[in-house]
Structure formats: structure tokens, C-alpha cells
Symmetry: C2
Subunit: 263 residues, 2 copies
């Protein structure tokens, strides 16, 4: 399971300031730290950029790539920012992401084909809402897959995000139980291996629970998702316990010889 | 997921001494501690008892039940000791266990029917060896189920133990990956919900790895087994982290409302 850092977010004070002042140092520092912490990909989520958004995104991507060769996910719903990010990137990048929402299908998905990159498709309905039942989710996966193939990109470039529900929602854990089934059934439903990604931070976001409990819940659910076949996990990589747990799950589920040294 | 304490074992010095001297205090002390630590059932594994084995087992079971009302598993391959344990028990007890090995089928399985108790059936071949492939394991599950039904006991009294492999074996983790598939497929193969139990201590037994890594591997794999449908988990309940993780997994997989307070 590949660990993706979700730490590079424009809402963070130091990143916001770095963008406003075109100061690369805070960005470089953060990137160096997430790489040391175990990230194997970096999600670049600039948040709302105001004017000169394309230029700011270009600055962000270039700055990241001055200190890291890791693949990046360009994480925005703004087509102009997406275009700027994908154009600026010199490493393998992933469009993050599209869904069945008409404006995303129309404005974002074609950029994946134009830049010849992998793209994350969210399991959300055309209104951007998460479906509940297993049948609805698998139906949406089929639609995402069909829409993706129509772009001319090869099918294995699609990365499906089944969208983790916050436990804060009364039925969040029930929805997440269905998410595990979705992960297990996707290959059969789509008739091929299919890459998947999920965001772990969603699980406990907004909860006022103690850190120790949040980490425990996250570790439990990440192990469950790993065993259900999840390929990539986006998370706060400064939560060291979670990164270790992800590595351990990877070893337990690997085809290679199990090595205590590497966990 | 129900936590079963595997701590009450005859090889422990204080339990061995208590048996030899018919001293109930060390047993009572241990039982009180495992119950406080979160055990919901207690496995009573006397080990080899030498002469007066039946009388010693009776002493052990009675002593446990003087301080605890928890259900007990009578864990022995000796039919005389099993008979004594099941007879002595005043709470719900579980025969632990039988397999397709002829002597166990002949001498142990009938005791389950005679005492009208649940029984653990190990997924082992008639020579007592663990099968490797998914097909072989599911085939053995069907045979265990058929043998069990022939005793006249109702099918839901069978508890299948898919037998966790030690990571010390070169292919232990690969075998355990198949174990997860077995857990997921058993209900369909047997055509009904089927109770399952597994022993967590097996996973890391014999490994010289640091405690911290052992606990991490155990927590990862217990979460995976829980999500695959495991009902009961036997473990050292003094490993507090593992007990907490088992409780957290139970909440995440429950149909009830998720409550941070209870994890």
C-alpha cells in the first residue's frame, strides 16, 4: 500500500503565507519532512488561490519538485489550477480528481487525457453526494469507468476513490463497512484489477475524541482497507504510528518473503 | 469480536505449581486479572497433567468458576481430561477442539454431543497438518461441517478455527492471506453464517522481533481478521494494546451507533 502525504494543503498558515509571498522555503521544508516521514507520493492541495491562481499553482508544483522526485497528485476542482499544475509537473502526476458531477466530467476529465496522466475518480453521485448502498456505489464505479474509457485513456489509469465517511456522521462506520465491500468487489465488477485510493483523515475529521483513540481507529480501519485491496492511502504522514501500520499491513499482504527488519 | 483469554495455560510455572499443590489462589488471581483485562471467555489449557489428570482438570475448572462466570473453552486433546472439564463446568463451555484426525473425530467430537456444547473444529487435514490452498481449506471446512452434523448437534454449534500460521514460517504471511479469504468465503461455502475463532499468539510465536513490532503485526492482522468476519479471537489479554484494538474493530464493524466512549 502506497502512502500519500496529504499534508501539503493551502489552508495551512505557513503554506498560505508562502504562496502569498512566493517564498519557497516553507514549502520545501514541509516536502522534505513528509518525504522523510515515509510519503511515497505527495498530494498538492492548494485550496482556494484567489487571483493568479494558475501562477500560484505553478509556483507550488515547481517548488515541491525542486526538493522531491516523488509523484504528485494535483488536487483541485478548479480546471485552470489543474491545468497549471499538470503542465508544471515534471514527475509523474495524477489528476485528483473527477466524479460524475457534470462540471467535473466536462472540465477536469479531459485534462487527464490531454496530459496523459492517471486520474482519481470519486465514488460520488452526479450531485457530488456519496451513495450509501453497495449496489449504488458499484453502479457509480461502472459509470466512472465508462466515462474514463471514453476519454481514450487506457483503463488502468483510472484510480477509484471510494470516499471514506467521517465517523462523526451517525452512520459513518456503517457506510465504511460497505466501503470495504466495494474495495473487495471492484475487480470483479469491472472485470479487471483496478487501482484504488482512499483518504484516511476523513475518518476522524471533526471528532473531538482524544488523539490516542483517533489513531487507534485510523490504524484499525487502514488495516481493514489494506486487506480489502486498497492500493494507495492518503494520510497525514506525521502520524508516525499510522505510517508504520500501513507499512506493516503492506508486508503482511505482500507476495514477498516477510521481513521483520522492514516493518 | 469476542476476546478469549489464552493466558490460563498449564505450562505457566504458577499454574503448574497450583495444580501440583491443589492451591486455588494463583488460578483465582490469574482469572480475576484476565477478566479485568477484558476477556469475555477463558480458554483453559492445562497442558500435560500426568496422573490424576481428570481430577486435576476438575480442580482447575471449578477453581476458575469460583471467581468467574465467563464461558470457558476446555482446551485439551486428551478425551479423559476433556470429559472431566466439560463435566465439571457449570457455565457454558466450548470443546476446544477437534479436527479430521481420526483419533479426535472418534474420541473428542462425541463428547460435544454428549455434553451438548459448542465445539471448535480446526482446519487441519486428517494428519493434523495445515492445508495451504484456499480450495483445500474450504474442502476441509465442508468435511468438518459434515462430521459435526452427524453428531446430531445443530450446525450453528460448530466454531471453525482456520489456524493462524506463524510468521516464523517462510510462507506464514502468505498462508495467513489465504486464511482471510477462508474467513470471507466460509458462509457461502457452508451455506449459512458460521462462527469462527482464531488464536492470535500463533502469529508471532517463536519470533525474536522486538515487542513493539510483534504488537504492531498482531494489531494489523487482528483488524484484518475482524473485517473478514472473525467472531472470536483468542489472545494474551495482558497485551492491552491488542485488546483495545479488538474492541475498536468491533465498534467499527458493528451495526450499532459508533460510540467513541466505548473504545
Amino acid at each position: 500500500m502506497i502512502v500519500i502525504a496529504d499534508n501539503l494543503q493551502g489552508y495551512r498558515t505557513e503554506i498560505r503565507a508562502a504562496l502569498d509571498e512566493e517564498d519557497p522555503l516553507p514549502v520545501k521544508d514541509l516536502v522534505a519532512r513528509v518525504e522523510r516521514a515515509g510519503a511515497r507520493m505527495i498530494d498538492i492541495n492548494p485550496g482556494p488561490l484567489g487571483r493568479d491562481s494558475g501562477k500560484k499553482m505553478e509556483f507550488l508544483v515547481r517548488t515541491v519538485q525542486e526538493v522531491s522526485d516523488l509523484p504528485v497528485l494535483i488536487d483541485t476542482a478548479d480546471p485552470e489550477v489543474m491545468q497549471a499544475g499538470l503542465t508544471a509537473s515534471r514527475t509523474r502526476s495524477i489528476l485528483n480528481g473527477f466524479s460524475l458531477e457534470p462540471r467535473k466530467m466536462k472540465a477536469l476529465l479531459p485534462l487527464a487525457a490531454r496530459h496523459d496522466v492517471d486520474a482519481v475518480g470519486y465514488l460520488l453521485d452526479p450531485k457530488g453526494q456519496p451513495p450509501v448502498s453497495l449496489e449504488d456505489r458499484l453502479g457509480i464505479a461502472v459509470e466512472l469507468d465508462q466515462a474514463f474509457r471514453k476519454t481514450g485513456l487506457s483503463a488502468e489509469r483510472l484510480v477509484i476513490d471510494p470516499v471514506v465517511s467521517p465517523l462523526l456522521w451517525g452512520d459513518g462506520h456503517r457506510r465504511n463497512q460497505i466501503l470495504l465491500e466495494v474495495l473487495r468487489e471492484l475487480p470483479e465488477v469491472l472485470g479487471r484489477p483496478v487501482k484504488t485510493v482512499a483518504g484516511l483523515s476523513n475518518l476522524t475529521s471533526g471528532s473531538a475524541a482524544p488523539m490516542e483513540k483517533k489513531r487507534r481507529v485510523e490504524k484499525a480501519f487502514l488495516a481493514m482497507m489494506a486487506a480489502a485491496g486498497l492500493d494507495m492511502l492518503m494520510m497525514n504522514v506525521f502520524h508516525r504510528e499510522n505510517v508504520c501500520m500501513a507499512g506493516t499491513c503492506g508486508e503482511l499482504l505482500s507476495e514477498k518473503i516477510f521481513a521483520w527488519e522492514t516493518i
